[in-house]
C-alpha cells in the first residue's frame, strides 16, 4: 500500500468550511487532492445515511465540517452534527470499518489555513490507517458481472 491514496469525503457547511476551503484556495494554501468536498447547507443536514453511503461507495475516511460552537446559522445544527457523528462512529465500529475513520471538525469561514491543515491531517491519518476494509470489496462488488 506504498502508493495508497485515500479517498476522503468532507461534508462542508456552506457558511463556514465550504467558504474556508475557498479561502484556502485564494490564499494559495495547498491541501491534498484526496479531499472530495460536498457542500451542505448546514452540517446538521448531514444524516447518518449520507456518511454510511459514502463509505459504502468507497470512501476511506469522512469528515463533517461545521461552524464553531455558537456560530451555527441554524442555531445548533453543528452540535447536532457532532452528536450524530458520535453515533455513526459507534455504528462504524460495529460494522468493522472503525469509528476513527469519521471525524467532526469545526471552523469559521475565515479559517482557510485550518481547512488546509485539517485536510492534510485527515489525509495523513487515513493514509496511516490504510484503505477502508470494505473499499476494495465494494469496488469489486460494484463491478458489473457478466450474465
Amino acid at each position: 500500500m506504498e502508493n495508497f491514496e485515500p479517498v476522503i469525503v468532507a461534508f462542508c457547511c456552506h457558511y463556514c468550511a465550504y467558504t474556508a476551503a475557498d479561502m484556502a484556495g485564494s490564499q494559495r494554501l495547498t491541501y491534498p487532492a484526496n479531499i472530495k468536498i460536498i457542500r451542505v447547507p448546514c452540517s446538521g443536514k448531514v444524516d447518518a445515511i449520507h456518511i454510511i453511503k459514502a463509505f459504502e461507495k468507497g470512501a476511506d475516511g469522512v469528515y463533517v465540517a461545521g461552524c464553531l460552537d455558537g456560530d451555527c446559522h441554524f442555531k445548533n445544527g453543528n452540535n447536532r452534527a457532532s452528536r450524530r457523528v458520535e453515533y455513526v462512529q459507534k455504528y462504524l465500529d460495529e460494522i468493522g470499518i472503525g469509528g476513527e475513520r469519521l471525524e467532526m471538525v469545526k471552523m469559521s469561514a475565515g479559517m482557510g489555513y485550518l481547512f488546509a491543515k485539517i485536510a492534510s491531517e485527515m489525509t495523513e491519518k487515513i493514509r496511516k490507517l490504510g484503505p477502508s476494509p470494505v473499499r476494495p470489496l465494494t469496488v469489486q462488488a460494484s463491478q458489473p458481472t457478466a450474465s
Binding site: D47, A48, I49, I52, K53, F55, E56, Y91, E94, I95, G96, I97, P133, V134, L137, T138, A141
Partner: protein, 222 residues
C-alpha cells in the same frame, strides 16, 4: 407509540450470514417515529450489513422496502413481488410486524432486526419513556392521569413505598417517583381525597394473564 431499538449488528449479521438475498422490511408507523425501523434505518442497516459481510468475503443482496404499516395484512401483501427470489426476510418493525410477515409468508424465514421495548411517549427529542403497559383496565382516571402500573417500579397501586426521596424512585435518580407525580397532580386538581380510596387488587386477566388478548368488534368483522 410502540418503541424499539435496533439489535446489535453482530446478532443481525449472524441471522443473515447463511443467505445470499434478503428482503429488509421497515415500517412507517411507530418504529419510524422512534427512529428504529423506518425507511432511513432500513437504508442504514442494509449498508451496514453489506459492508460488514463483505469483510468476510460474503456478498449479500439486500432489497429494501418500507411498508406503510406492517401489522395489517393489506399492506403486507405489497411484499409479494419483492419476496420472490429472496432467501429470507428481516423485519425492522415491532414484534407485531415481524409476526404478521411470518404469518403471511409461510415458507420464508423471518428475523427481527429490532428489540421491541415498550409503549411510550417522547419526553424530548431522542428520549422515549414507558407510559403504558396495556393492562386492559385503565386506572388513569383515579390516579391523576399518571399510571402507577407502568411508572412505579414496584407497580404499587396505593401510594409511594418508603423509598421515595425528593421526588425520585429508590431504584434511580433518573426515575421519577410515580406516586410523587400522582400526588402533585391530585393536589393541583384539588382531588387529594382520591388518594384515600383504596384501589383493590387488580384482575390481571385483562393484562394478558388470561392468555393472548383479542378485541372483537362484531360490527366491523367481515
Amino acid at each position: 407509540m410502540i418503541t424499539a431499538e435496533r439489535k446489535p449488528l453482530e446478532e443481525l449479521i449472524e441471522f443473515v450470514r447463511p443467505f445470499k438475498r434478503i428482503l429488509l422490511v421497515g415500517c412507517n408507523e411507530c418504529v419510524t417515529v422512534c427512529s428504529a425501523g423506518g425507511r432511513k434505518e432500513v437504508g442504514l442497516l442494509a449498508s451496514g450489513l453489506k459492508m460488514a459481510l463483505l469483510q468476510s468475503g460474503n456478498t449479500i443482496e439486500i432489497r429494501e422496502h418500507t411498508l406503510e404499516r406492517q401489522c395489517d395484512p393489506e399492506y403486507i401483501d405489497e411484499l409479494l413481488p419483492m419476496i420472490d427470489g429472496v432467501d429470507a426476510v428481516m423485519s425492522m418493525a415491532c414484534g407485531c410486524g415481524v409476526q404478521e410477515v411470518a404469518r403471511r409468508y409461510k415458507n420464508m424465514p423471518v428475523f427481527p432486526a429490532v428489540n421491541t421495548k415498550f409503549m411510550g411517549a417522547s419526553e424530548r427529542p431522542g428520549v422515549w419513556a414507558e407510559r403504558c403497559q396495556g393492562c386492559g383496565n385503565c386506572l388513569l382516571g383515579v390516579t391523576g392521569g399518571i399510571c402507577p402500573i407502568a411508572r412505579c417500579s414496584k407497580r404499587l397501586m396505593n401510594g409511594p413505598c418508603g423509598g421515595s426521596v425528593t421526588g425520585k424512585c429508590e431504584i434511580s435518580q433518573d426515575v421519577d417517583c410515580a406516586w410523587q407525580l400522582i400526588w402533585d397532580r391530585l393536589k393541583e386538581l384539588g382531588l387529594e381525597d382520591q388518594y384515600l380510596k383504596i384501589i383493590p387488587a387488580k384482575d390481571w386477566r385483562t393484562a394478558g394473564g388470561g392468555g393472548p388478548r383479542k378485541i372483537i368488534r362484531e360490527d366491523l368483522t367481515a
